[in-house]
Symmetry: C2
């Protein structure tokens, strides 16, 4: 088995190139360069070229990229050239907010189903054409609506049991907003979105930056704690 | 200037060790090991040891870690041993959902201010003690409430202008939920949370996995597109 492992940060950046190229396309721009892409994202042009090089040759040296061609190649890389059906699992504040987030539909992620266990929510309308169903109806619903991705916004204690239901029903990927590390079989992909982890990365960077400034001023290496 | 650059994935994992260790501490567990931490997070024990090694020596070989000691060292690394004051900028569905997210307060991120431009929202109560203010009052408010982190949940078109206000007011870090690449000066740290980027990473992984399974079955290298 060959396994070309592309680093995850590369994939995330390629998704950001996708966003920038879509913007250029909407503005009617036909050509771009790794320098222009890099500047828009505050990274280095060499990084853009390196990321793309995992997937073959794009553009010509000194000529740059054709926006539309590069965009459609990136869509093929990411699998976003088609619509993905998505289910919201857990219609609390966060589930509701996400289901109304305009960027989802714009990027061809279509919410086709929503589930909860709260009797007051079940049978009410979340979005045009999307009635909230009870989680017990998940297995039956997935056969009809063919959702492949679940956005998991349940409470921490429900996260693993609901994940087990999703895996059993044949889900392909889970976007996990809960602070729980999910156990799934190897056929299922999990991507975690955890605000608190992001906030802690932020505080780490804030105090590192403060530490470095302090060090620069004092010009001493011994002030560093780590 | 010395600059020990710790990779961002390491910081994110250390924040996850923090979460797991907090759980152990709550359960009254006194000792743990890199093996146990690794298993809880579906990673390798060697990864745990490598991540922690950036910050010195923890625990003893064969003896493991004292949960409370490791936890307090990790808090110092991440800067989470103290409370951080936070402001919500943009009180739409997402801003509201985040402000009611119980994990924030639990992790010592305290929402002290909230801002919007919508007259119907300004002067209404978001949380006990937190009245939504107009964005024009930001500079005055930050002096009183001393928030250091802004959670940015405004519309894409408002993202950069509001960021300029925040930077001018002396913000230290921004958790950016908008799909916009923010321009800030080098004193300000930005951490991006973009659901759509995460969803596209997920679809990439789903189709890669499908591709690999296909390859495994066909036993041919030529079926691979990339």
């Amino acid at each position: 088995m060959r396994d070309i492992k592309v680093p995850k940060p590369t994939i995330k950046r390629i998704a950001m190139y996708n966003r920038f190229l879509t913007q250029l396309k909407e503005e009617g721009v036909e050509k771009t360069s790794s320098k222009e892409i890099a500047e828009a994202l505050n990274i280095k042009a060499s990084q853009v070229r390196k990321d793309l090089s995992y997937f073959g040759e794009f553009g010509k040296r000194g000529v740059g990229y054709n926006v539309e061609k590069l965009l459609s190649k990136i869509h093929i890389i990411l699998g976003t050239e088609r619509v993905w059906n998505v289910a919201i699992i857990g219609v609390g504040n966060l589930g509701k907010a996400i289901s109304h987030y305009p960027e989802l539909e714009k990027n061809k992620f279509k919410i086709v189903s929503a589930f909860d266990v709260d009797k007051r929510k079940v049978n009410s309308i979340l979005l045009p054409g999307v009635v909230i169903k009870h989680i017990n109806d998940l297995k039956e619903d997935i056969k009809k609506t063919n959702f492949e991705i679940a956005i998991l916004t349940v409470s921490p204690s429900a996260a693993q049991p609901v994940t087990d239901l999703l895996v059993e029903a044949g889900i392909k990927g889970i976007l996990n907003f809960t602070p729980v590390t999910l156990n799934v079989n190897e056929d299922v992909v999990v991507e975690n979105v955890d605000f608190v982890i992001s906030l802690k990365t932020l505080t780490y960077e804030i105090i590192s930056k403060a530490g470095r400034s302090f060090e620069d001023q004092s010009n001493s290496e011994e002030d560093r704690v780590f």
